[in-house]
């Protein structure tokens, strides 16, 4: 680890607050980054372009998740750790289906785990139910996988 996760967390908090203060990410609370919300907005925007339907002015083509892929690619190249991990062909469909289900559950909750904790720091107490659900999900899966 080149940066300790604690400091990474603090940097994430700073990025969220900085974007809201100076970059104009104000139409939703703590919305500088969301692994679920940003692709949803992008796809909403794309479908509205394709179908010429009307959308809210706050539905924007946000590309942060693609930025994350590029950022981690640059980091892995900088640290000389980039290597291709081959596809496990036996798990191909399972992996695809789990990604599919993750998106659906994420859209149920309307936020990704990172924004879940950022929203808690923003004072949103409703996300406490999300934290309980997320922790319970992890706990149950650990118990199931240990059997």
């Amino acid at each position: 680890m080149k940066i300790k996760p604690f400091y990474a967390g603090i940097l994430f908090g700073l990025i969220f607050a900085f974007s809201q203060t100076f970059l104009g990410y104000v139409w939703k609370d703590a919305y500088a980054y969301c692994t679920i919300g940003h692709p949803r907005d992008l796809i909403f925007w794309l479908t509205s372009i394709l179908t010429s339907s009307k959308i809210s002015e706050y539905t924007l083509p946000l590309l942060s998740t693609f930025g994350v892929i590029l950022g981690s690619f640059i980091a892995s190249k900088v640290y000389r750790e980039f290597h291709i991990v081959k596809i496990e062909k036996s798990n191909l469909f399972t992996t695809f289906a789990l990604g599919f289900a993750a998106a659906v559950f994420g859209l149920f909750a309307t936020f990704c785990p990172i924004r879940l904790f950022v929203l808690l720091s923003f004072g949103d107490l409703e996300v406490l139910f999300g934290i309980i659900g997320y922790t319970l999900g992890i706990f149950l899966t650990i118990k199931l996988m240990r059997r």
Partner: protein, 152 residues
């Protein structure tokens, strides 16, 4: 809004790239933090979650003094009536529970899977293909059904 679409495309991409760089460098993962704490009693990755909550709170509180207009909802629990819709709370709980189960099963939260994809893990790219297909499917077919079920 006074900003253009291009502005938001560029800034969001840049923010994402910075977050991705930090995410790779720190091996930050919300699921791994909680899992390691429960399973191995390791606190290091979990400290990332503490950091995000603490850092977020400190930065929101400080920067809200500089630009109060951008933080008119901060802190939310003082400004907006919470816990008013049972359906919203149910959706949050069900969604997060599902995310927790899947993230543990695939060994990474959705953010971590994006980071893994960038560092060359082709399995993560398959996961992300399913992820984006899921978002499109939800918007086109599921959203209205879910909204009608949870409209109470």
């Amino acid at each position: 809004m006074s900003y253009s679409l291009t502005y938001f495309m560029i800034t969001s991409f840049t923010i994402g790239a910075i977050i991705g760089f930090i995410g790779y460098s720190s091996k930050f993962c919300t699921m791994a933090g909680i899992r390691n704490l429960i399973l191995l009693r390791h606190k290091e990755v979990f400290m990332g979650i503490i950091g995000i909550v603490l850092g977020g709170f400190l930065c929101f509180s400080t920067l809200s003094l500089i630009n109060p207009a951008a933080f008119h909802n901060f802190p939310i629990f003082l400004k907006i009536k919470l816990f008013t819709k049972l359906s919203k709370i149910l959706l949050i709980t069900i969604g997060s529970l599902g995310l927790g189960i899947i993230s543990t099963y695939v060994d990474g939260c959705p953010f971590r899977m994006h980071v893994k994809a960038g560092s060359g893990d082709l399995n993560s790219i398959i996961y992300l293909t399913g992820f984006y297909t899921g978002i499109v499917y939800f918007i086109l077919f599921l959203q209205d059904i879910i909204m009608s079920i949870f409209s109470f």
